[in-house]
């Protein structure tokens, strides 16, 4: 009996010692997560960055070449074209996704008949695998069999097929359209969820205060939705900026590199082209853009002063 008491007391003081060294204990608990992070997140990222400083090719160990890859990219007009394309694609598609997604969300938030049916329909583009929808768009944009050309010709609006993917401007607009189609559900459904958190009594109070429909949107809906808009659009911009699948199926970057994005160019140089070092350098060059988007969202995502739990 006495032994047991003494033993447990001794153990307790050992534990108490550990407990007092909170930092030691904290580090101990952090260890598994840290190992996981290092192995699965940092290692591939580090390897990619390292490859960017080497002249590695497929099947041949590279050597450190410093900034040579970046110097080459600096004077590479195709790279700069890809940067321009990526920015155009991201900005154009994000603005359209935001505008159309918000509009759809506002529509779905009205009292419609068959409301849940329409909500399900809106989600469709999101649940279809990207490659499948890309193939569908490939047909829709086909030079000979495009349903859009066919319909417009039947309506008598045009007299020959539109060259959707063969002309540089058309190709850019076409891939943006396909990306917008695919990205709208995410924006619309997220914003719809946000709209539904705005109490109806706020709209009623604003109506009695004399607000028109537009003023209610401008002064109530939009500001109250702004936190969720920041989240949704940050994700949307990140997805769009790093898009690969749609472009790769639809145009492979053509015609004349007009739709090459940084992601597709990086892949093309690295894998089919075999220049792993150069491909990695292009991918690394995306990081500053992504970081600035994340920084932007960091400030955008900060709790508004008026939100519950926000800083005073």
């Amino acid at each position: 009996m006495a032994d047991v008491t003494a033993g447990s007391a001794g153990r307790r003081s050992w534990w108490a010692g550990i407990g007092q060294g909170r930092h030691v204990l904290g580090l101990l608990f952090l260890l598994p997560a840290a190992v996981f992070l290092v192995l699965f997140l940092t290692y591939p990222l580090g390897l990619g960055v390292w490859l960017g400083f080497t002249d590695t090719r497929i099947g041949r160990e590279g050597v450190f070449v410093g900034l040579e890859n970046y110097e080459l990219l600096w004077i590479d007009s195709v790279f700069w074209l890809a940067v321009f394309n990526t920015l155009l694609y991201t900005v154009g598609a994000s603005i359209l996704k935001f505008a159309l997604g918000l509009w759809l969300a506002l529509l779905l938030n009205q009292h419609l008949p068959f409301k849940s049916f329409f909500r399900a329909v809106v989600l469709l583009p999101w649940v279809v695998p990207t490659v499948l929808s890309a193939i569908a768009f490939w047909w829709i944009f086909d030079a000979q069999f495009s349903i859009i050309s066919w319909a417009l010709i039947k309506l008598g609006l045009i007299d020959h097929n539109i060259n959707f993917l063969g002309d540089t401007t058309n190709a850019r607009l076409s891939v943006i359209a396909a990306n917008v189609w695919r990205g709208i559900p995410f924006v619309a459904i997220s914003l719809l969820a946000g709209l539904q958190t705005i109490p109806a009594s706020l709209h009623e109070a604003a109506t009695l205060d004399g607000a028109t429909g537009w003023q209610r949107f401008r002064y109530i809906t939009l500001p109250m939705l702004s936190p969720i808009i920041a989240v949704v659009m940050t994700f949307s911009v990140l997805f769009t900026f790093t898009d690969f699948q749609l472009i790769y199926v639809l145009t492979r970057g053509g015609p004349l590199n007009a739709t090459h994005l940084m992601a597709t160019l990086s892949f093309q140089r690295a894998i089919p082209g075999g220049q792993l070092g150069e491909g990695a350098a292009i991918a690394v060059a995306m990081i500053p853009f992504l970081l600035s988007a994340i920084l932007f969202s960091y400030f955008g995502l900060q709790r508004r002063k008026w939100q519950q739990g926000g800083g005073d």
């Binding site: 009594s201 706020l202 009623e204 109070a205 604003a206 109506t207 009695l208 205060d209 008026w306 939100q307």
Partner: protein, 357 residues
């Protein structure tokens, strides 16, 4: 400043009728309280006045103009919601000035009107805060401030005090009343609390299941309730209802389970008719030769004594009595009680209609 006239107003949601023809007329500057149990259609009626709900039948007139098809923003009405409905992303000042801003009033005018309203309500030091940084009572004041800044034709209040604690409720009750005396704006105030109705109203409208049971000044409703529902709803503690029959001579009421109580000024009752005798606890006196009753429970509060007794002794109907005097009562004791003169009521057993005048 405006009159409000509600004429035969009906409301149905789909096929469910919730308001079955209500008539109320409100004079300029009057403070009218709509009172009734939860779900009786008070908010619906108020929202129809505001224009937030369509009117299914009948008409609502503001300043003698039918407003059935006038959109809310043109009715010039301000409403204080139960949850206050403050704009969370605007400061107190911006909340209060929002309606003026929508009307493109000059900034100097907005500021001066907001300042004045804030002064009246004691909010001047809070104008830069956000609603989430305010206490319940302060939010309530901001909601009122938003209403008075506009200087509207009519104020509507929908249970504005029900989210406050009891003490604050009493204080805000007085403040709202003072505000009304100062501004003299026509006011319609909805509550389920009969004490709020009694203390604040110039005129009370008692509603029940979508119909108006009675309209009148607070003390009229207390003294001469038109039916058993109003009698039971107005007054606290609630009126006793004693089942029985009118005596053969028409001057006494024979209670079921024994004892008999005096009747006066009977209008529509025949001798022998089944009826309900209404007697408020505070109108019961102990008198020699009164009806015998056996005390069951005694609850002294200091200022008064609430006693529950069985009329006619064991097995009789329970009634509550409120005595101002410091009587020493004990459970089991037999007391002799009688109604204070002119303070008893009689209602038809089936319809609940008042039978005495």
């Amino acid at each position: 400043m405006a009159t409000v006239e509600i004429r035969g107003v009906k409301k149905a949601y789909g096929t469910t009728a919730v308001i079955h023809g209500v008539d109320v007329s409100i004079r300029d500057g009057e403070f009218v309280v709509l009172v009734g149990p939860s779900g009786c259609g008070k908010s619906t009626l108020l929202r129809m006045i505001a224009g937030l709900e369509n009117i299914t039948g009948g008409a609502i007139l503001i300043n003698e103009r039918v407003v059935n098809d006038v959109p809310p923003k043109e009715r010039d009405i301000a409403m204080v919601f139960q949850n206050y409905a403050l704009y969370p992303h605007m400061t107190v000042g911006a909340n209060m000035g929002f309606s003026l801003k929508l009307r493109s009033a000059p900034k100097s005018e907005i500021d001066s009107r907001v300042q004045r309203a804030a002064g009246i309500l004691g909010l001047s030091h809070l104008l830069d805060r956000y609603p989430r940084q305010l206490s319940g009572g302060q939010r309530q004041r901001v909601a009122m401030g938003r209403a008075i800044v506009r200087d509207p034709q009519v104020f509507l209040f929908d249970e504005p005090l029900s989210n406050l604690d009891a003490k604050l409720r009493v204080q805000m009750r007085t403040e709202i009343k003072e505000l009304h005396q100062r501004l003299k704006t026509t006011t319609v105030y909805v509550t389920h609390d009969q004490i709020e109705a009694m203390t604040m109203a110039d005129k009370i409208v008692v509603m029940h299941d979508g119909v108006v049971e009675q309209i009148g000044a607070p003390l009229d409703l207390y003294d001469r309730p038109a039916n058993q529902f109003v009698a039971g709803f107005i007054g606290s503690p609630a009126m006793n209802f004693i089942k029985g029959a009118v005596g053969s001579d028409g001057h006494a009421f024979a209670c079921d389970g024994g004892a008999s109580l005096p009747l006066e000024g009977m209008v529509g009752a025949r001798p022998g008719q089944r009826a309900v005798y209404g007697l408020r606890p505070e109108h019961i006196r102990i008198v020699e030769g009164g009806a015998p009753a056996q005390v069951v429970v005694v609850e002294p509060t200091g200022s008064e004594i609430l006693a529950v007794a069985r009329l006619g002794g064991e097995g009789g109907q329970e009634i509550s009595c409120l005595f101002r005097e410091r009587l020493s009562l004990a459970p089991g004791e037999i007391i002799h009680i009688a109604p204070q003169k002119g303070m008893s009521h009689l209602f038809d057993e089936a319809s609940g209609a008042r039978l005495v005048d």
